[in-house]
């Protein structure tokens, strides 16, 4: 085949930035990957301390914004398991977030009739004890929602989950004797760590508000630890029979079933794992703000989480974290800003219209890049490394050749 024919079909082998990055990353040895990964993570963790001038938000505290990002990132990873990996459209994911937050609230808030912190549980330990309970209860709620509804497919499942999200919020609003209704549960426990003269209630307390070493920073760090743990778990699942089953179900559920995949079981697992991660995010949120009210768990938030997943790239767990960053950070970036690059703007107004802008962004994305900003390049084999390495060598040789031949033209 001559170069003319290549021109005729308009496909030249060129590498995008993402491909180059992936080729480079895959070419590194395991220790080298750690060598790059750990400092990058540390740098990411220190962002709210360093407070780089352009990046730092003006209207709200940067530490608080990053803490919120951490929680949304957790939710995005959890929702990505359900939507991105298994292909089950869940529009009521906020329900799991709410169940996680309310579990912590019910166990430790002084407004709750089920409050345990006056009795055997000290207030300082309340959150730590409530956290695993919140995760477990949310996982069970995922099971309860999933077992009847996962027999449905596509749009029907989406509608049922949408209803679930609303049911959870309405319960929180209407079970007044339990949840204190619209007034919410206040004085929720938080981990009391690092008390000192300047911080009498510990570093995680909302009272610790002096930047940069404020509560937001410490909750951000806690969220980062949770994210790393969750990523390891989800990564292990992805490169196993479970992850392959999820992708097979997403691609063609009937064919998967006929190839011996117990589809219902694995869909239920996806729901359960997604729910548990959502519950973890909710528990972190409840501890951070020490206050939960039903309006936080509006269905619009479900859409926002879904937006993070779709923008980031369905199925790409690192991509959806960046999606979550965009969703949380951009409105906060504009909040309180009066000029950008010397142009006077009304940042607060722009931030108010965030749903409009995200909606437009989604529409543009669906037209120009439906696979998301960072499309998934899933790896589904535990011991596939030698395969990818072999493919990489060929790819490098080939694209090297291609660039030379392009240069010669």
């Amino acid at each position: 085949m001559s170069t003319d024919t290549v021109d005729a079909v308009h496909v030249a082998p060129h590498l995008g930035v993402g491909d180059r990055l992936r080729l480079w990353w895959d070419s590194l040895s395991r220790p080298a990957q750690w060598g790059f990964g750990v400092p990058a993570l540390v740098l990411l963790a220190l962002l709210p301390v360093l407070r780089p001038p352009v990046l730092t938000t003006v209207g709200t505290d940067f530490g608080g914004v990053m803490a919120q990002f951490g929680m949304y990132a957790l939710l995005a990873i959890g929702l990505n398991v359900v939507v991105g990996q298994a292909g089950l459209l869940d529009l009521g994911y906020v329900g799991f977030y709410a169940i996680g937050a309310y579990t912590v609230g019910l166990i430790t808030s002084t407004d709750s009739p089920w409050n345990q912190t006056d009795e055997w549980l000290p207030q300082s330990w309340g959150w730590v004890v409530a956290l695993p309970l919140a995760v477990a209860i949310t996982a069970v709620s995922g099971l309860i929602l999933g077992s009847p509804t996962l027999r449905l497919r596509g749009d029907y499942l989406a509608i049922v989950t949408l209803g679930f999200g609303e049911i959870v919020r309405l319960l929180a609003d209407n079970l007044k004797t339990l949840t204190n209704g619209g007034r919410g549960l206040s004085q929720i426990a938080y981990p009391v760590v690092g008390t000192s003269e300047t911080r009498p209630t510990g570093v995680f307390s909302a009272g610790n508000a002096q930047p940069p070493w404020n509560a937001g920073l410490f909750w951000y760090w806690l969220a980062l630890v949770a994210i790393v743990v969750v990523l390891l778990v989800v990564g292990n699942l992805e490169r196993s029979r479970v992850g392959r089953a999820w992708v097979a179900i997403r691609e063609d559920e009937d064919a998967a079933e006929i190839m011996g995949v117990p589809t219902f079981t694995f869909k239920l697992w996806a729901f359960l794992i997604g729910a548990a991660i959502g519950g973890l995010g909710g528990a972190l949120y409840a501890g951070q703000v020490q206050f939960v009210i039903p309006t936080t768990f509006n269905v619009i938030n479900s859409m926002l989480f879904l937006c993070a997943v779709v923008i980031g790239g369905q199925g790409n767990k690192l991509g959806v974290i960046l999606g979550a960053f965009i969703i949380v950070y951009l409105p906060n970036f504009f909040l309180g800003r009066t000029s950008l690059l010397g142009i006077p703007i009304d940042g607060n107004e722009i931030a108010n219209y965030k749903y409009l802008f995200f909606g437009l962004a989604l529409m543009a994305l669906m037209i120009f890049r439906p696979q998301g900003l960072f499309p998934a390049r899933q790896k589904l084999l535990t011991y596939g490394r030698s395969m990818y390495q072999a493919a990489r060598r060929v790819a490098l040789a080939v694209t090297g050749d291609a660039e030379q031949s392009e240069g010669a033209r």
């Binding site: 085949m1 001559s2 024919t5 290549v6 079909v9 496909v11 030249a12 082998p13 491909d19 992936r22 080729l23 895959d26 292909g87 778990v233 292990n236 699942l237 196993s240 029979r241 479970v242 992850g243 392959r244 089953a245 992708v247 097979a248 997403r250 691609e251 063609d252 009937d254 064919a255 998967a256 079933e257 006929i258 190839m259 011996g260 995949v261 117990p262 589809t263 079981t265 794992i273 696979q371 390049r377 899933q378 589904l380 084999l381 535990t382 011991y383 596939g384 030698s386 395969m387 990818y388 072999a390 493919a391 060598r393 060929v394 790819a395 080939v398 694209t399 050749d401 291609a402 031949s405």
Partner: protein, 334 residues
């Protein structure tokens, strides 16, 4: 996320270039030809099998890994699967009308008939997609009554699809490994904690998956996405994926659709190779030359009824079969 079915005509032409037995030499041109706008470069290039798995260079070694080690209760030559008076109805339409036949272990059985004769329905009744209105299917001593589809696969019936249904966003190797997973037992806890069983299964899946790809002749495409494969290779991948479930019975639903004569010949060789490796094969096919060339016995359906069965030579001489395929001349029926 649906597969765009490749145009059979174009596929046949395209596949011809790729089904050569010699290793394809990777050049910028061959890659450019296969490049699709979406998808990373890693999923586009052919790999050198000798580079990844040198042990697969020997054809006998490949066949040895691919050969099933399963315990099969049925003796060689005895009926492995029996259809007993199976009737399938869709509303008022009787798609299968008390059809009975058997598939004997170790044979290649051809199931033929004109369009709409009920071949695929028969197939679906066996693999649990449709439930028979009456009659029963007995497989290796087990009646397939209310068994779930995925459990039927684990019992040992695997199939390919008339219209290719691969997991198009997975690589060829990953597709096959999904098949091997049918025999695996790792679930979520095992995968999270990477238990020894999980690791053993993963290693086994990789080895067997690679061997299967070599067996059907597409090992070098292991890391390519299924949807980027040429048409002929997609058909081969479907066979490899079905074999990966270690079936006692492999059912092929029109595997030669859209193939040119040279490819059909290669497919016949592959089907024989599969049988020689210890599998039992049920072949649904239109192409009489292929059926006559490769099968041991043939069952003929027409309008949901069995009209003939026997050796290929007997069946092709049967007046009822000739009438079904060519029609009856006016003066004969008058």
């Amino acid at each position: 996320m649906s597969t765009i079915p490749p145009d059979p005509a174009a596929g046949a032409e395209h596949g011809d270039q790729h089904l050569g037995t010699e290793e394809q030499v990777v050049t910028a041109d061959t890659v450019a030809e296969e490049f699709l706008p979406d998808g990373g470069v890693l999923e586009e290039v052919a790999v050198d099998v000798a580079d990844i798995a040198p042990e697969l260079a020997d054809e006998e070694a490949v066949a040895h890994i691919v050969a099933t080690e399963r315990e099969i209760e049925t003796e060689v030559g005895a009926p492995l699967l029996q259809l007993e008076e199976v009737t399938v109805r869709f509303g008022g339409l009787v798609a299968l009308d008390s059809v009975s036949f058997e598939i004997r272990r170790g044979e290649i059985l051809g199931l033929i008939g004109p369009n709409g004769a009920g071949k695929t329905t028969c197939f679906n009744a066996m693999t649990g997609v449709y439930r028979p209105a009456s009659g029963r299917v007995v497989f290796d001593g087990h009646p397939l009554g209310n068994i779930k589809r995925n459990e039927i696969t684990r019992l040992g019936i695997a199939r390919t699809f008339q219209n290719i249904r691969l997991f198009s966003d997975m690589t060829a190797l990953e597709n096959v490994v999904v098949g091997t997973d049918a025999r695996h037992r790792t679930s979520v806890p095992g995968a999270i904690f990477r238990t020894p069983r999980h690791r053993a299964e993963e290693r086994d899946a990789l080895e067997r998956g690679m061997a299967l790809l070599e067996f059907v002749g597409i090992g070098r495409r292991a890391t390519q996405k299924a949807r980027n494969l040429p048409y002929g290779d997609q058909r081969r991948l479907e066979i490899a994926r079905a074999l990966a479930t270690e079936p006692k019975l492999l059912c092929l639903d029109e595997p030669a659709a859209g193939f040119n004569p040279a490819e059909k010949q290669q497919l016949m060789d592959l089907i024989r190779k599969i049988r020689d490796d210890g599998y039992t094969v049920l072949l649904i096919e239109h192409d009489m030359r292929l059926v006559m060339g490769v099968t041991d016995r043939v069952v003929v359906l027409e309008f949901g009824k069995k009209i003939a069965q026997g050796l290929p030579s007997q069946v092709s001489a049967d007046p009822a079969v000739i009438a079904a395929y060519l029609g009856v001349p006016d003066d004969a029926s008058a």
